[in-house]
């Protein structure tokens, strides 16, 4: 449990806009939730009901919040927490709090995680938006450069070699780290998935690698997850080892570029510094 705090002024102001009918004095049990790198998330109680308030910080690369709002109230509503209010253009949001441990804490076995991923991918409808890894990495790098942080030469070389990361395209989450999944039910098909701001069509193996890397799994464990997933989703696809490693490399390139852009924009959290270091080390290790 996190310590109870007073809701900061910026969050109070956003909450007043999100719920003008609330008596703000009656909001209680405010806690800052861990794990938000670019947003501040607070759990709070109002009239015996529990909520999560997301306060968005301005990102170095703009996020289409109108798209996210449409997504949350429509096609993927049942895959995520009930939305109570969403503020445009800021992206501040109030949702009901979903009970259950985070995937990072629950640590279910690989088969259940494969079931979750397969069910999730089967249930996300066509999104009408592509999440192109090369373009996304390029955008983050440009934002970082404009803000005075340039990627080292070895990074540019690695990125050049990433000509075509996605080999099969389907609707994906694209930020599926284990802090974004609540193990809210016994059935993995009904776990709750948060933070859909990067959702778009991509190679589904990218989501698997996000989960596996977040859980600190080895390459062998990740390969086992991929095999279990392909079995669950009844796919005839048989990605080769080089194809799997290409997606893994794309993941680390994305993580590195994203962290570089965040740091350049002044978001100098220790976790983001650590992500930059970790992704850089992983990319160097991939080349022996």
């Amino acid at each position: 449990m996190n310590p109870t705090i007073e809701l900061p002024i910026e969050a109070t102001s956003a909450l007043k806009k999100l719920r003008p009918q609330w008596q703000i004095d009656a909001v209680s049990d405010v806690e800052l939730l861990p794990g938000g790198y670019t947003n501040d998330n607070y759990s709070l109680t109002y009239q015996r009901a529990e909520y999560v308030l997301r306060i968005v910080r301005s990102p170095p690369v703009p996020i289409d919040r109108a798209f996210e709002k449409r997504l949350l109230s429509g096609p993927i509503a049942l895959l995520t927490a009930p939305v109570v209010a969403f503020l445009l253009p800021e992206g501040h949001m109030l949702t009901r709090k979903v009970a259950g441990p985070l995937l990072i804490d629950a640590r279910p076995d690989r088969t259940r995680i494969a079931q979750f991923l397969a069910r999730l991918h089967l249930r996300i409808p066509m999104l009408g938006r592509r999440y192109d890894l090369v373009q996304t990495i390029g955008r983050d790098l440009r934002a970082a450069t404009q803000l005075g942080e340039t990627a080292p030469p070895w990074f540019a070389k690695e990125l050049e070699s990433l000509t075509r990361a996605a080999l099969q395209i389907r609707p994906c989450h694209n930020d599926l780290n284990p802090w974004n999944v609540i193990v809210s039910a016994a059935d993995p098909g009904r776990w709750c998935t948060l933070d859909w701001e990067f959702a778009g069509d991509n190679d589904p193996l990218f989501d698997l690698i996000c989960v596996a890397e977040g859980l600190g799994w080895s390459i062998d464990e990740t390969d086992e997850l991929i095999d279990l997933y392909l079995e669950q989703i009844e796919s005839s696809r048989a990605p080769t080892t080089p194809q799997r490693r290409t997606i893994r490399k794309a993941f680390f390139l994305r993580e590195y570029a994203w962290a570089l852009a965040q740091l350049a924009a002044g978001n100098r959290r220790a976790e983001i510094e650590a992500q930059l270091q970790r992704a850089g080390d992983a990319l160097k290790a991939l080349n022996g």
Binding site: W22, L78, R96
Partner: protein, 105 residues
Amino acid sequence: MRHAFDGTLELARSLADLATVFDMTGFSLSASRERVDSSEPGLALESRAVSRGVYAISGSVDDQLLDPHDVLSRLAMALDADGIRFALRLRDARGDVLVTYESDH
């Protein structure tokens, strides 16, 4: 303010089998052979059998705590995903229908 809603469900099975559907909505709803119940703050829900396999449901959403349109929309999506025939109507303070959700089947 509380927003009333009502509607019908047509089931080829027991009301208790709706437990999974209600679970999908993300709200604390439960179903037994005879009735549905809500322990979700801000959401009241009840049912009664009208004829064999047909249930009338009614309830209300407190807009202080929940978005009434979101609640009805989630209920409708969950029922639709399970292939259940239904109609749900959200009403305004005067009792006029604000929006109707109906199954695609």
